[in-house]
Symmetry: C2
């Protein structure tokens, strides 16, 4: 808010830095990479679109693990590209021959969200390195939720980009930095992968001057955001235990949400619970698709919000 209120009028009057140079310098410092390994985008969604238009010929296939972020197939559709979908196993992990499946279908770009949505499962950096190493095409690792990973795991995919020139990491300020209104995302990759995105397919001034300024401030002061991440992790553990006690066991999550299984005996099942919660002004996610329709994705809220949710669920629980 200080960075916002301190924005001089001159910043609005002039065109922004076409390369978001100041943000890239700071992101480079934070992640221990060269600024040439960073590209700033108008939200993470723009990076998803740019990855497609940069690395996939129109009409050629795009790879995903299913289930995952619903925007991937939408963007593929706009590009006229079929989607090669590989189902995750029972532990929400890609199958052992995931990369082989993609290679066989001639996939030039594969999306993996890690931690996974909607389960919260985390693949280690080694697992990511192995998949990327086996892929013929580019692997986009969508780290929208990575800020919520337990720091004790020392999880860091970024060092891989030095050696592996087909890994494109997506970051966003919408989740971990509570800046969804700002529309700011960025990519981290080997400079050889960043260069065509930054100079060929990206609109010249896709990131505005205020967003760049505030994003730079957010990354500089990420200790403040890290306090929130720690609070979310604490509440995540507490909420998971409360849901477990109610008979709604959750997948072990490294994200800011929990995927809870809802038995049909519990108030008529996931969809009914979703509806009854909505009536009370409590919004959780219900996905009607195969493999998810007996579950609910519940975002970890404040302690008060989580208590209100738990109380509402308790009142629906079977006797």
């Amino acid at each position: 808010m200080e960075a916002l209120r301190g924005t001089p009028a001159e910043v609005l009057r002039r065109y922004p830095s076409p390369t978001s140079a100041e943000f890239r310098r700071i992101a480079g410092e934070v992640h221990g990479v060269d600024p040439d390994s960073v590209v700033a985008t108008n939200g993470g969604d723009e990076l998803l679109r740019l990855a497609i238009t940069t690395f996939v010929e129109p009409g050629h296939p795009i790879g995903v693990a299913s289930p995952s972020y619903s925007l991937y197939p939408v963007l593929a559709g706009i590009h006229g590209s079929p989607v090669v979908s590989s189902p995750l196993d029972e532990d929400w992990r890609p199958s052992a021959d995931f990369a082989k499946q993609m290679n066989r279908e001639g996939v030039a770009l594969t999306f993996l969200v890690n931690p996974h949505a909607p389960s919260g499962t985390l693949l280690s950096a080694t697992e990511i390195a192995d998949i990327a190493g086996a892929l013929n095409g580019v692997l986009l690792v969508d780290e929208a939720y990575v800020d919520f990973v337990d720091p004790d795991l020392e999880h860091d995919v970024v060092p891989l980009v030095r050696e592996q020139d087909n890994i494109l990491i997506l970051r966003t300020l919408s989740k971990g930095y509570s800046l969804a209104g700002l529309r700011f995302g960025y990519g981290i990759a080997n400079p050889s992968l960043i260069e065509p995105i930054a100079t060929k397919t990206r609109d010249s001034y896709s990131v505005d001057a205020i967003a760049e300024r505030l994003a730079a401030a957010a990354l500089k002061h990420r200790d403040a955001a890290a306090e929130t991440w720690s609070t979310v992790r604490g509440e995540r553990g507490r909420l998971a235990k409360a849901l477990e006690r109610l008979g709604l066991p959750c997948v072990a999550s490294q994200s800011n949400f929990l995927l809870a299984a809802v038995p049909d005996a519990f108030a008529g099942g996931a969809e009914m619970v979703y509806r009854r919660l909505k009536e009370q002004g409590i919004l959780v996610r219900f996905f009607p698709q195969e493999g998810l329709r007996h579950r609910l994705r519940i975002t970890v809220g404040t302690a008060e919000q989580n208590d209100r949710l738990t109380a509402a669920l308790r009142s629906m629980a079977p006797a």
Copy 2:
């Protein structure tokens, strides 16, 4: 600046309105159209890209008048589309069979910048209506500089969109509202033309919450911007006269720049003048292409800037 400083933190925390509903309501009021006739974009450049991805199959041709904005052929190239270029006549106007030329080549989208860049020439609403009426495809009228048109001309293309469903008007806040750092543009067209842009090809949250808020404030208080437009018009006339007196006659301009002819006898011609001005920290535009290389595009500055330019040119003038 008041709208900026008054932005509450909550606006940053939450996702923005995916449709920029509040801005569209205000723009609708300002232009006398329904909000469904307006789409907000991340700068005018995003609307140019969206027009191409919405209305042109990849690889199919795109039409332009030449010379015009250098980004049109760049965006066409990214789309794999050849450019059908129709040269303007000596008065910087499209030839009488402009629409026929486009139709003959199967052009689905034609760009016209009006007032024209780099000459500042204005086509009337009637001329625009005639061209659009004769075109088989969509006509994008790029009104980036329209705010600087003399109000006595009562120039307004917007009413056409009610009857003609192939006219897409581009507006930007970068020029007339001095908000280039904000990256905010919008399209005005028949709802049937806006709908596929707004719902099919546009990224869900391409306009951030601060930009929408500030753009709405700018349009609400456009009387303040209108004072600047009036000042620019006054300086435009004064500068044109001064250049004329120096032997550098200008095309009659309705924009915030002047296209001045530079005889070779004047300090060695346009490119030399451009370089010598640059050495003095005065930036004007030199275009090395056929038809423009004996001219300079000079943006109308403040009275002081214009006087400094005039003095610098006077010192270069032939005896």
